[in-house]
């Protein structure tokens, strides 16, 4: 059963998911990856992307097996109504945790770096109101907004890379193997949650004008996201080195503080602030839309919109639960980046396997 809302095309879905997935680089994720991958930390997103590209295939196969069904509906078809609904609620729980922790991180980062005199709960409230409104207007408007923003964001990024940074050296990417090849492979496996937005893709496949493009969208999203992550990770390493990055909370903001445009001494920081605001708004609205839609489908509600205020309050309340920003970061890193691969890839994969073993497919 599909709830009532519009559809988007493959390009819009790609732009939307790419921006949502790439938004992480504005948070503390780059510093956390450096702490685990050292000078080879840029290889971790690459390795994780390769694993994610393979791991999403069973989920895509599940959605193909039950065309027109939502992920929640497909889960029920695959393993029965009780287990299927339980699986749906597990995924909703993961999305709620993701929403709360992302909301808190963006608010804290925004508050501590850009608006230090504004109380953080005020920023959280404004962000969540904006995101709820955006999600309320539906997938089409988020998709159109993403498409509109992509060229601007690319231009901002490009402008940043034409700038000047003091004492930059590519030798800081050495030693090449960082923690060692074996450890690097383990880290790549542990970080598949970097691509947790692929769960959103599985949920929005029924809302694609041509659901068959789901696989292409997945690969495009992974490819574009890994390109951004590698670019950012390399930029941070060659600028701050491993031990310098380890002492930063938001390396991309620190990086933008250093970049000056040629001999104009004009900073790219204001552009990064704009980029930050748009990416934060898109990321949070995509998560709220995904959570609202998936929860409505799991609970078999005809509309997802009445759920939006509820999931927003859950996210808002959840975002205040961690004791501080460090606890928020630790929780996010463990529950989304490290363990996120389980609900995003393993659970849909198991559902697909169950459907195959039980011989279930769409009537």
């Amino acid at each position: 059963m599909n709830i009532k809302q519009g559809h988007i095309d493959g390009r819009q879905a790609t732009a939307l998911l790419w921006l949502a997935a790439s938004g992480k680089v504005l948070l503390t994720i780059p510093a956390l990856i450096v702490a685990e991958g050292f000078s080879a930390s840029w290889l971790i997103p690459l390795g994780s992307a390769t694993i994610a590209a393979a791991a999403i295939l069973p989920g895509l196969a599940l959605m193909k097996r039950f065309p027109g069904r939502s992920l929640a509906g497909a889960a029920e078809e695959a393993v029965g109504p009780i287990a299927g609904r339980a699986a749906g609620l597990v995924l909703a729980g993961f999305l709620a945790a993701d929403a709360a922790l992302v909301l808190r991180q963006f608010s804290d980062a925004f508050g501590s770096v850009i608006l230090p005199r504004t109380p953080i709960p005020v920023i959280t409230l404004v962000l969540v109101l904006t995101a709820v409104y955006s999600a309320y207007t539906g997938l089409e408007s988020i998709g159109r907004l993403s498409m509109f923003l992509v060229p601007w964001l690319l231009a901002f990024f490009a402008l940043g890379y034409t700038g000047r940074v003091p004492d930059l050296s590519f030798a800081r990417l050495m030693p090449f193997w960082g923690p060692g090849p074996g450890n690097l492979a383990v880290q790549a496996l542990k970080h598949t949650g970097l691509y947790s937005e692929l769960l959103t893709l599985l949920i929005l496949i029924p809302y694609l004008r041509k659901p068959a493009v789901g696989r292409a969208v997945a690969f495009w999203v992974i490819g574009l996201t890994v390109a951004v992550m590698i670019l950012i990770q390399v930029s941070i390493l060659v600028t701050f080195d491993v031990l310098g990055t380890d002492r930063l909370l938001y390396p991309v903001i620190n990086l933008s503080d250093l970049v000056t445009l040629g001999h104009l001494d004009a900073r790219v920081e204001p552009l990064i602030v704009l980029l930050w605001i748009f990416m934060a708004a898109i990321k949070v609205s995509v998560i709220l839309w995904t959570l609202g839609t998936h929860l409505a489908e799991t609970l078999r509600l005809p509309q997802f919109k009445p759920l939006l205020p509820i999931v927003a309050v859950i996210a808002l309340a959840g975002s205040r639960l961690p004791g501080g920003i460090q606890q928020t970061i630790d929780l996010y890193h463990v529950s989304v980046t490290h363990v996120g691969g389980v609900p995003v890839f393993a659970l849909p994969g198991l559902l697909w396997l169950a459907a195959v073993l039980r011989g279930r497919r769409a009537a």
């Binding site: 050292f38 000078s39 080879a40 501590s112 770096v113 608006l115 230090p116 005199r117 504004t118 005020v122 920023i123 409230l125 404004v126 109101l129 904006t130 409104y133 309320y136 003091p166 004492d167 050296s169 030798a171 800081r172 050495m174 030693p175 090449f176 193997w177 960082g178 923690p179 060692g180 701050f240 080195d241 491993v242 031990l243 310098g244 380890d246 002492r247 930063l248 620190n254 503080d257 250093l258 000056t260």
Partner: protein, 423 residues
Amino acid sequence: MLALLLVLAPTAFLVGGCWDLRELDDWAFVSIMGLDKGAQPGWLRLSVLVQQPGSVSGTGGRVVPAFPRLTSEGATLYDAYRRLEELTGDYLTYSHTQVVVIGEELAKEGLQALVDSFRRSRELQHTIIMAVADGVTAEEVLDSARGDIDPFPATYLSHLVAKTQAEYGASSHRCIHTFLLAEAAHGQEIVLPLLRLAQKPASPSPSGSGTGSGGGSAGGKSGGEQAAAGAGTPEQAAPVERRVEATGLALFRGLRLAVKITGEQAMAFNLVCGQFNRGRVVVNGAATGGKDLSLELSHYEREVKLARNGPSIEVKLKVRLKGSAEGASAAGVDLTPQGSGAIKDLVGSKLTEMMSGIITLAQTQVGGDVFDFQLHGRGTFRTWPEWMAYDWDRAFREAKVSVEVKVTEIRPGLATQTQESGP
């Protein structure tokens, strides 16, 4: 539409931060920051030159800014900030600071107290130039920081440092970012520009006018006192005052100042560490006919080959340059292709000697890698833990470093006539 208004209205009201509005005139902008040892053990003495937008006035079409110097002490930098605000009652902001000067005593004692404050500071831009005061306090440098033409001490001082660094060939500026980078990196040492005070003829205006331009009241007083002392005598000696000079580089071991280098040593440093752009060298030998020949060096290329054998390393440094004879110094010197060969060798051997000297100084007196050879060394390791476990400092101190300088071309300068084409 109503929903949109409900979202936009609180956004505009809440995020704008209008409840604690401060107009531009309420702020005092710190333009230069000086840091010295405090009177109490472990304390910092913070001196700042501030500019208040409201204090800028126009007199006869000329802008006369005032830069009062303020001072406070505190157990930490933030403590000193707070005490300064308590003292002045102004809203001080450091986001427009252009130069941070560190007193020599503090630099010798160690800069541990600054690292965390600099890293965490929301206001201090990491591109701010850092410099060490040579033999004086940072406070004294702030008092004397004023230019003859530029009425703004901060821009004057930052340009002075940048230009003097360029005289020694440096192609990049040392700022808070490079300071923190070197502090955090494994096997890399901190290098900062050096500022000193020299007795120089007093400039007539604007500092001589006593308006407080540059250096504020204290700076004006300093110059004014010296000038007044001279004015009272019947035999009028030319009035002098203390002026800032950028003289060289301060080399640190860990967070403590180890060695100060000036002149040719500073240029040799830049040649070794790969940050050379252009520079000047004077040679004198049989090839120049026993006279001083001034050459501008350019087209710098450096190649570093580093081999690691267990706990020891061997560095082969190859430098290629082109030289251009300067003005009158080249008159009568044979700069033809046949004659310039000997001059190339002379310049090469001089630069080799200079570079070998600074490397020996770094190995013996500094005791740490100030040249960033570690960036080449880490490439010889397979993994990061192996690199971190390696005692790079010891390897650097005991390293065998060979220097080879090749001057590929000596050209006559624009104002030079060679023997062939000359009269």
